[in-house]
Amino acid sequence: MTGFTTDTGIEIERDFAAAPADVFAAWTTPEAFARWFGGDQVQVPLDSLDYRAEAGRSWSATMVLPDGNTIAWAGEFVEVAPVSRLVLTMTDQPDVDARATIAVDLAPTETGTRMRFTQTTPGFTAEQREGVLAGWQGFIDVLQQVAKG
């Protein structure tokens, strides 16, 4: 798996030994999504999940951490294009208006599916997002100098 920080935030590319339809279903079926979202150390109780993949529809989920603490997730489906693309917004602070946008693009490969995942940083206007696109690298340069200190 390759993962790196890009113009827009986070980008992760990953290959799966499964057909795009299966990967898409794993993203869009509540029972499947609850199984893997957050990894194998957390639980997403199905009865906490309001998750129907339709463009314009809100979703919410509760995540139970190993220490018993919970995280409330919320967001909205933006684009649902079987079996190649899914766009949704999300936050773990539902009382704050800012939402991160995540986009999942699926393409068939010889062995299964290549998934390209991106997550933008939350809270941007379109103009600000353009600004970030124009020069995220400069920020990263500064960050690397500063975060060392």
Binding site: M1, G3, T5, G9, I10, I12, R14, F16, A17, A18, D22, V23, A26, A32, R35, W36, F37, G38, G39, D40, Q41, Q93, V96, D97, A98, A100, M115, F117, Q119, T121, P122, G123, F124, Q128, R129, G131, V132, A134, G135, G138, F139, D141, V142, L143, Q145, V146, A147, G149
Partner: protein, 115 residues
């Protein structure tokens, strides 16, 4: 569309969205500077630089000295560390998730083959 009130992290990212402000921050990593020092590399008025500094101050990225005449700008890296941690935390979150997604897909493939 209503304007979203920005949480501190979003304010940091928004402040960093402007190339001039990133340039100012890069300059400040070398040490404190006054408005004149900061304006020099750009074709900007002192007023324009002060405006950028105000955005950076509001985001907590820059503090200003007390001396009314000079008021050097000083970098405060704390919000940037939070922004960096935000990216790292989310990356880890998704990498754990996708490992579990991989396991899940493997499980359903095996089931399909068995049946």
């Amino acid at each position: 569309m209503r304007t979203a009130p920005l949480d501190p992290l979003s304010r940091t990212f928004a402040a960093l969205a402007d190339p001039t402000r990133r340039g100012i921050l890069a300059r400040l990593t070398q040490g404190p500077a006054n408005v004149g020092d900061l304006a020099e590399p750009y074709d900007l008025t002192f007023a324009a630089v002060s405006k950028h500094l105000r955005v950076l101050q509001d985001a907590g990225l820059v503090t200003r000295g007390r001396d009314a005449q000079y008021r050097p700008a000083v970098l405060d890296a704390t919000p940037m560390k939070a922004a960096s941690a935000w990216i790292d935390d989310y990356r880890r979150f998704w990498e754990h998730s996708f490992a579990a997604l991989d396991d899940y897909l493997t499980t359903i493939q095996n089931k399909e083959q068995e049946s």
